[in-house]
């Protein structure tokens, strides 16, 4: 029996998905109408996207997805969505000096601009938040284009496929297989017997939290105006929506060059708990809503996640209060300043551990007073969010299993006859699952290291000398869907200076980091070994 895959079916469903994805561009279109900018860009983008979608649909009008076709579809969807996502960027940038706009001056300029747009769009859909925008400002880009950039993160956070399963019956047929491939973490938790209902429940919770954040942020703004005090002077409705769109998916994009540092302290405090929420398994909230709140604190992953957050926060707050970092701008003085030290520590840990990537202090500058505070952040970046959250990274549950498996190996090497299953909160973890998690974690680390070396060498080739911390953080920030790194890649820097080759590698890393699909890689492996 030979291994074959009905790729037409996958492309057929992909066509449907793209057609509906075009509808999401109605949101920036509305923004463009309100601000009377770039209206034609979004109308044209919608037409092009629908056209591509309908074209692909013709490949297989009546697609029948098997498990392998489902896997292929998920990987394709996550390539196609960022590609389609570049259309508004490229169109809107024609004739401007936008770094992601289509440049037709020379072949080099053309490819670089396309790669840049793809990088930005992938960074959006994968909720990474790394940017190649040279100038993040409303002078350079329209409100609508920047809103589209925010929206890509919101769509990618809970997952485009999950969204499509929730609304499209034809995708829901093989939904469980699709969702398993897209959901972050080692396994899929079905909340209801019907997968479409599970998908809907997750999206509704996600949507609910987003609306809640918009209401609080804009409420502060309005309340501040009404009372005549400076509560949240910059948080107008546009900014409130834009930032809610990138907080819940642990994205990190901001239409402000200064990220969250552009807003008042109270806005920063409000955003912290929402970043923390975004790193929690959304299935747990579903249980909480149904009155099973005890499942939340009984969940061993949640407890570890909360414990690690608290521990890292305490260490960083102690370092900042003790004066480990100099005065930064933005960020201010933390030495001996209680509120600011607590806020900067909580915000940076909350942002980096679960891979959001917002910043309220330029931690790239923290190295000047000694690198210990930066290393706390680096450690946090390795942890990641929880399975079933919108966060990136290796995920807390994998580290838990890896640690427990290592402890078990050490114990049984001394007493080989002891039979000791690995347990998570009382439940036994299947040996196959442990092997899968170990392989994934190892693959993740291997890719991360390989990419760090590649980025360093490739940058040296084009005459940019990176420090070890810079190249390591470039690799980690993209594979972990985090966004900002250290040095030149700091929260207020960008990824513009990398070569096209490095940028394309990072696009691949972001894709792998978001989808975590070992099975997709296995599709390639099986395909290659069969054809040879």
């Amino acid at each position: 029996m030979t291994w074959r895959i009905d790729w037409r079916a996958s492309f057929g469903v992909l066509g449907t998905i793209l057609t509906y994805l075009a509808l999401t561009m109605l949101v920036p279109l509305m923004v463009s109408v309100v601000y009377m900018e770039d209206i034609w860009v979004f109308i044209l983008s919608i037409i092009i996207t629908v056209f591509i979608g309908l074209g692909l649909k013709r490949l297989d009008p009546d697609p029948d997805l098997g498990p392998q076709e489902a896997l292929l579809l998920v990987s394709l969807a996550w390539i196609a969505a960022p590609i389609v996502g570049t259309i508004p960027f490229l169109l809107a940038g024609i004739g401007t000096d936008s770094t992601i706009g289509l440049q037709t001056g020379s072949f080099n300029a053309l490819t670089t601009s396309v790669v840049n747009a793809l990088f930005e769009s992938t960074s959006g859909f994968t909720t990474t938040g790394a940017t190649v925008l040279g100038d993040i400002s409303l002078e350079q880009h329209s409100h609508a284009v920047l809103m589209w950039r925010q929206l890509t993160q919101w769509l990618g956070g809970m997952g485009i496929i999950v969204l499509m399963i929730a609304i499209l019956p034809e995708v829901a047929v093989n939904g469980a297989e699709l969702m398993r491939s897209e959901a972050p973490g080692p396994e899929l938790q079905k909340l209801t017997p019907k997968i479409a209902e599970t998908a809907r429940a997750l999206w509704i919770i996600y949507f609910g939290f987003t609306v809640l954040l918009v209401v609080i942020l804009y409420g502060l703004h309005v309340a501040g105006l009404a009372l005549g005090i400076e509560l949240a002077p910059n948080m107008n409705l546009y900014n409130a929506v834009a930032h809610a769109f990138t907080t819940l998916p642990t994205g990190g994009f901001s239409p402000k060059a200064d990220s969250i540092a552009a807003f008042s302290a109270i806005v920063q405090w409000v955003i912290i708990p929402f970043m923390v929420i975004a790193g929690v398994n959304f299935a747990l909230f579903w249980h909480v809503i149904r009155g099973e709140a005890e499942l939340l604190y009984k969940n061993s992953e949640f407890r570890t996640y909360a414990g690690l957050l608290a521990a890292l926060f305490a260490v960083l707050a102690f370092l900042l209060f003790g004066g480990a970092v100099p005065k930064t701008d933005p960020g201010g003085v933390t030495n001996g300043a209680t509120e600011n030290a607590l806020r900067q520590a909580a915000f940076q840990i909350g942002s980096l551990m679960n891979s959001t990537g917002y910043a309220t202090a330029d931690f790239a500058e923290w190295a000047e007073g000694g690198t210990e505070a930066q290393f706390v952040l680096l450690f946090a970046m390795f942890v990641g969010g929880s399975a079933g959250s919108t966060g990136g990274g290796v995920k807390v549950i994998r580290w838990l299993v890896v640690m427990k498996a290592i402890r078990r190996e050490l114990y049984t090497s001394a007493r080989p006859d002891v039979v000791q299953p690995v347990r998570l909160g009382g439940d036994v973890v299947d040996e196959d699952a442990i092997r899968g998690i170990l392989v994934f974690t190892l693959l993740y680390l291997a890719l991360f290291l390989f990419a760090a070396v590649f980025i360093m060498l490739d940058s040296a080739r084009i005459g940019v000398n990176l420090t070890v911390l810079e190249s390591v953080s470039a690799s980690l920030a993209t594979i972990g869907n985090i966004g900002p790194g250290f040095g030149k890649l700091g929260p207020f820097g960008n990824y513009l200076f990398f070569s096209d080759a490095s940028k394309l590698l990072m696009v691949g890393l972001m894709w792998f980091g978001r989808l975590e699909i070992v099975p997709v890689l296995s599709l390639f492996v099986v395909g290659v070994s069969d054809s040879s």
């Binding site: 007493r415 006859d417 002891v418 039979v419 299953p421």
Partner: protein, 445 residues
Amino acid sequence: MDIVIIGAGEVGTAIAEDLAPSHDVTIVDKDPDRAEDLKYQLDVLTMSGDGTSMQTLQTAETEDADLFIACTDDDRANLIACGTAKTLGSPFTIARTKSNEYLKTWEQNRSAFGVDFMVCSDVLTAEDIVRVIGLPEAIDIDPFAGGIVQMAEFEICEESPITGQTIAKADRFESLTFAGLFRGDNILIPSGETRIKAGDRAVVIGSPESVQSFAMDLASDKTPGSADEIVIVGGSDIGYHAARLLEERGLEPTLIEEDKDRARHLAEELPETLVMQHDPADTEFLMREHIDEADVLLAAIDADERDLLVAVLAKRLGVDRVVATVDNLQYVDLFEEIGIDVAINPREVTAEEIIRFSFESVAENLSVLEHDQAEVLEFELDADSELDETPIRELDAEISFPFVIGAVTRNNRLIPPRGETKLREGDHIVVFVETEYVSDLTCLA
């Protein structure tokens, strides 16, 4: 009473043997030869046939039976038999099961499967084992009066501090009664002057605390209850339940199982137990794991020969106390002769529990001692009992056969029986009596 018993295996036979003298018993077994044999062995009616078929049960006149006992080796057959019996008439049904699963279901709803009382042999045996492990030196322990009273049988060895003492001297505990002594094949009803000899087996009845304290006196070098090093060899269902019950008591036993998949399964089910997968008869392994330092070793392998081998090995390595499960009733004595401290036969335990329940009309609870030489019974005194309103001293003189009142409970409180204690209506009494006088005693109550 008319009693129908389905299954003439060891359990069924033991029950029939006990009930036949005073009741009308019909036994049904699938095997015609077996049924035929039993007809001559016991004074019962036997039939061959499938106990789950309506026709067979009708022939056995189940519709008129008062008590229906299904005790074949097949769990499901027992459940179906009880259900069928309930559709024919309204006997009180007792089912024997091995699997804990059906017991759990039945405990959720006490009328499930048409079963009125369910006896789970594996759980029962494990409970028995855990009680024995909890009391060092005890051979047999049973709870009475809802746990307020405990009966325990102890073997008195040469080094025991009470060897050579009189009963009056040895019985230092307020709420403890020396009910009987087994010396060789004889039963002694002890008086204050009776001297305790090495090799005697003493039966005491009293509050659980006093029984525990007495056990501590017997084995002063051990701290009882803290049998912290408990090793279970063999992951049979009994071994599993014993480990589970020990875990419930906050202990962390070690369990050795040879089969890889079974060991893995047990390790998953028993989070507090250290499960090891190895050949338990490998002395090198036992030495490496310091099995000799164990306080108690339970041999619970399904095969008796392997069980015996492991138990003897453990004894030789120096384990303080070895308890073994023995499937074959005939080997129980052999095990104890070789030096295994306690040999427990699951079928005996099951039969005992079912008999205990069958006596419900008069006696509420019962323990069978020394292969049914003597019994300990519990019953409630009713208004027309001949024992009411008479001091115990006078009862002793009045009644012709020997018996000992070990404990009296009134309104769920233990009253230590003394010569002047008067019994009242509603009292529960726990009595030690030779088996041949059991029916005489129940007539008085």
